[in-house]
Subunit: 301 residues, 6 copies
């Protein structure tokens, strides 16, 4: 089971300007083969399906705990997309104004037809995320190798989206995820090392460009965020510290486990888009609405 | 962000016997269009994408909170599948024994080739769950209507899987989910009523067969579980009580919100399946393993 | 079995100008999850698969009859797309002129490579319609709830496409379909009411914006088109009148069944696009063509 | 637009016994790449998308008219599947009896979870039919060649399903479709000949086995059914006779157009399957049901 | 088994300018239903699966041999795409420069996120090629008819891409493939004729526009390339000459088999794109690189 | 370009008995995410798309050369499937005998409907291979890491299929592929080592079970087959020896490059299956056949 906290992993800055095609590009980090849906679901299923948990508890704890952090990552990507999409069309309750006209030429029409100018579990070309992206062989070494590869692939995707989009909200998100993804890469490398004795971490960085090249990542690393594995549980997954230990291969700093999630930032409030009747349209019965609001919520809406 | 608790929503009984084709059938409740992946992801995206949250807070809280409970449901379905699959093939480290021979005739070969006799995000025919199953129009009334329909469709699927599989572990899981799904159906009905004044709850049950027909559901309802909406958050989503209030349409009992998750049950330990090298194979270097175990975990594995 | 009439449900006006990306958007109403292929095929399969037809004849008749009308709707959407696409590229029999050059930048390349600048059973992003969009549980209440939801979702899609495209041909089509879809929504609401006593129609409109906001729909409603259920059969499906009866919830007007299809309009003639060799290319043997035309068709082509 | 007649193309005999896996096989003729959904939708879209209709009217009429017959073919395949599925599980309103137990081992679980033991737009492995199966290049010669090939491929599929299933209902259906498909093959061959002068019909039969090998087809041919092209329209598509003329290549008999559909047979009534709550479950409010039946249908249900 | 020769079928000219959307269009010839992946894989599987090879050797040899040529065609299409994509974004090792910014608006984002500005097995809308495009019934006549149709469909696609893209590299490639595809069409026509006596070649050209309309194809035909079937094997597939014999239906020239592949042209060298870390990024350890280069490759990289 | 040699990589023994469900399982090694289609196409596209080839020639040569060997692997898997399928149904030219009856209950109906009891590019559940399985980032380190992981995943799949199927033909094939796949794993490990200095080969074996556990693999390794990288080209890819050098990590034996393919074995002849009209049916005109055979092939067929 999980508990949810109504906070984002970081505070997201407002975008300088709405940007529909940037939002379309960022969708790759959500629903692409290497998007956050994939990391979330790969580790989640691996944790459910773990065989021999008691004997290999530190590995189980590590995978389950990283899975938990990934939920915060799909959340972060989703809100970034939403912020880039808000205001990309005309706000109007009169459909004859053709308020969505511009969307005809945008790259992702689902954002305007299927959703209310918000994120979907799809990639940058609109293809839906699917369960064949989940790898879960049951063999610990192979699953760890997969996870190591998956995180490196995800890193390549993040870097490329960073290079496509310079909107502050997107870069803030990508910068943070590069650092946290970096922690996950290293964690899986260390887990692999535990099984094989091979110093897999020496392969890093993959692709061969440092996080330090990205100011929005560098600022977090300067504060040591790359050394921290958060333990996302009130009481469980304590044996992550068996694996997340020692020093960081890049700067030799000491790795440490922090209990509980980061403090995080506010969940952004996404404004209404009346032309999409999101969340309500001009035809909602006002009397009914008022009555219900008073009765159920103790205030007018 | 979320926190994870290493507990299942309920304690799952051991299956009377392994049952590969029953496990294949139960997969529909995981990765089918009406499986728990769908309820989890629909409500999760709707919560990320909610527009006008402050004004419509109780609806946001309701959707986000139900999304959170759904994670516990994919977890429950996954462990049920795993328990049904454990022991379905011969345990052996010698591949020449053809330990997986029986699997050639089972309905789902992915359980034996892609996973280590464990669950996957696929349906009962092996088709992967995909993101096109997520509906998120942004219009509150339409999304609530969708959710009401989705839960009714999910209920129909659960009933049919119940009728296919009489293994205790599966029925215990389905019985519990029928009750919890029933809470979600009613919650969305009440939310729709708040917007429209229509007593949508009077449409229930859909399909037209009562939960009381299912002993494994009835026992929970006799304890009042159908009256409870758990609040799955340390501090947030408190306005669910604005909607989850009044009486239950079936027995007139009083609805109530309970803070925090149910106490739940132990996460079952899934035994090793050496023929699948899950979690390790006979070729793992024993010296290396011992050394690493001692160094990292402070004990021999 | 069906008979086909070479008439469209309405006369479609010529588009003011060709518009490839508008055509791409309109494809959502054809092959999207909520497009007309979905309504057509959902009700068609539900009619084939109906159990207990004699006992529940009015429901069978209703579903089968609405299915039949939907064929006219895919036809209408198709011709709208075709009219928007005609003339979007250069007409030429010389390929070295690069007559399709502009299409390189249009949103839907299938219109120019797979088809002859015409509609396909795909959505606005080019994803093909597929059979998983058909819901057919066999439970009458659940299927009716689905159909009610499907029509509401389809309505949301139509509204949004209306807001994207102001080309007269598209708006004429959408306006008509909003009215006819409104009839279907109400028909399914009344069918649900027959089973449950719940006044489902009071939930309307969903999304909460009235058809009267759309001039191209309003003009039809002013003539009472929203009160009419056409009976699309020479002799069958007469019991639709058992359900389609009483008054319209919005204006209290009397509902009525009309025998036979609407008079409709001409099927538009789509001009040849020689650069796509549609329907023939410059290399068709002229002697052969003439001879065959004379022999088979009694005239020169 | 279309009109629907509540008759099947032929009378279907009752199956000797229910046969779930035979039904699964027959699904290939519905939703496979070469199933009737494909022939229906290929010709339907080609008719919508026809360019230069006035000039090439006989070809348009032929394609539109064959499309219309194909609706009767998906109908026939659907009812065959339904008849094979009825009674394959235990009839019971008590789910604890595990009435669907046998279905756990059947080849197609969707028939028991997604539908009420009825057909779906899927193939013999459960993969959904999809719009990429529609070919519609706009070039008349290429489209006709495609249609000729498609019908030959469909013929091969029918023959193989015939060889898999000896249940009378399936063979009656396949036998009839072999003859009608044979008419379509020849019609497209003649249309190709009109454009090219090549006697394409001499390629037949493809695959190289005669319809006369199939008693259920032979009996229809002995009555001349292979000579008839039905004109499925009250008043339109009259120029089919320009192409469907001359003699049959196999037996030299004279081809002729018949106005109107065949007389056909009764639409079979599919019995209720209460364990699937199809069409209603034990929980439908009996008082409500009675009241509604009286009010709406003038009789008790 | 195969041997590979590091040569392209023809020398490809440098593109006049990079052209991302042209590259996206050309993808249809790679991964579309009628792309070269389809011709390659259809004939390859048909050759593996051939039944009765000894008796029907010339047909086997023909199919296997054409399959082999098709590998050179996916290669040619791939390099064309790569050449069109090189240089479409800014070259830079500093990601903060947003070097991929322009790609946000290009039609195919996978080229910039999934690949290093290079080809993928996808079509012009980004949909992946898939195995359902392979037709292999085992019936020789039907498979040959399919292949004849497939090649005609592929020809239509090539012609349309030619009409979309006037970049020299693309037209050189398409011109060559039109000629070679023309050889394959005729080869399958002749094989069909061998089985049926029907002069299928008289149906050509399909679509009805001559290769002579395309200067980049005409120049090859003027040199007789359309008369040659290359035998792509050191010692095998010699019986192709049983089928590839006689005269060409268009100009009466004599058909002939040439042993071995064409001389072909250089495989183009694709420049590094450092912003995509393709093939290496700025973070590759230079000392390591140098040491390895010296040790393994005997030179500095 | 490629040349094809009409030889298999090894001689395949006849299967002890036909085995339809074993064939279905073996399909995973063909068209699954980790099947031979994936290794073939991943490396093929990586070779086409290689940037900076001159500078990084040994890596290019390695990838291109391994791609070439993989063709021989899809060939081997295909013939194994075909041999397992031959004779699984009754041989008969009379369809009324229901010769395919048994196939109704087999796991893969496509083998009997879509193909002539032969292999298809699908996996063990019938899902088609698709292009999204191709990874090609352009970053050399990441692509090599991917290839290393892909080969390990493919190895796991092979082991499991070995454990499902004890038919000699399948085990002979898997045994050989385990050895050759082992060569590819090591080759990519060495390539990664060249870029990073990390002794990646020490991670092996993954999964942690030795090839020596498999007699059909062990026999090849005892002859040194695991030490050999074949160079599959008349004249190219010579720099593979820069990377494939040194000693084998498991037994310290010396690695070596062998010019040219292995001698291999005969391509098995697959018998006719007349009930599938493969390759011909009883309706092929015998006079025509004889005449054509004489004319074209110089002998009666």
């Amino acid at each position: 089971m999980i508990l949810r906290v109504d906070r984002l992993a970081i505070e997201l800055p407002a975008p300088e300007h709405p940007s529909p095609n940037s939002a379309a590009a960022v969708q790759e980090l959500m629903g692409g083969r290497f998007g956050e849906m994939s990391t979330l679901m790969n580790y989640t299923f691996q944790s459910f399906n773990f065989r021999g948990r008691d004997k290999f508890r530190p590995f189980y704890d590590l995978i389950a705990n990283i899975a938990t952090e990934e939920f915060g990552h799909i959340e972060l990507v989703s809100h970034t997309i939403n912020m880039l999409l808000s205001g990309t069309t005309g706000r109007s309750t009169d459909p004859t104004n053709t308020p969505l006209e511009a969307a005809t030429d945008f790259r992702n029409s689902y954002h305007y037809i299927a959703s209310g100018q918000t994120s979907l579990p799809i990639d940058s070309m609109g293809a839906p995320w699917n369960g064949s992206y989940v790898f879960c062989s049951g063999n610990l070494k192979l699953d760890l190798l997969h996870n190591f590869f998956l995180e490196c692939g995800a890193r390549a995707n993040k870097i490329r989206v960073y290079e496509m989009v310079d909107n502050a909200v997107a870069r803030e998100m990508v910068g943070y995820l590069l650092v946290r993804g970096g922690v996950h890469i290293l964690a899986y490398a260390k887990a692999l090392e535990a099984l094989s004795g091979v110093d897999v971490g020496k392969l890093l960085p993959i692709p061969d460009i440092s996080n330090k090249q990205f100011p929005e990542a560098r600022k977090h690393e300067e504060k040591g965020l790359h050394q921290i594995l958060y333990r996302f549980s009130p009481n469980d997954y304590r044996e992550v510290s068996r694996i997340w230990t020692g020093t960081h291969p890049e700067d030799g700093s000491t790795l440490r486990v922090v209990d509980g999630p980061p403090e995080g930032g506010r969940v952004p409030d996404h404004p209404e888009e009346p032309q999409l009747t999101a969340p309500i349209g001009p035809g909602l019965d006002q009397g009914m609405l008022k009555e219900m609001a008073t009765r159920l919520f103790g205030k007018a809406m």
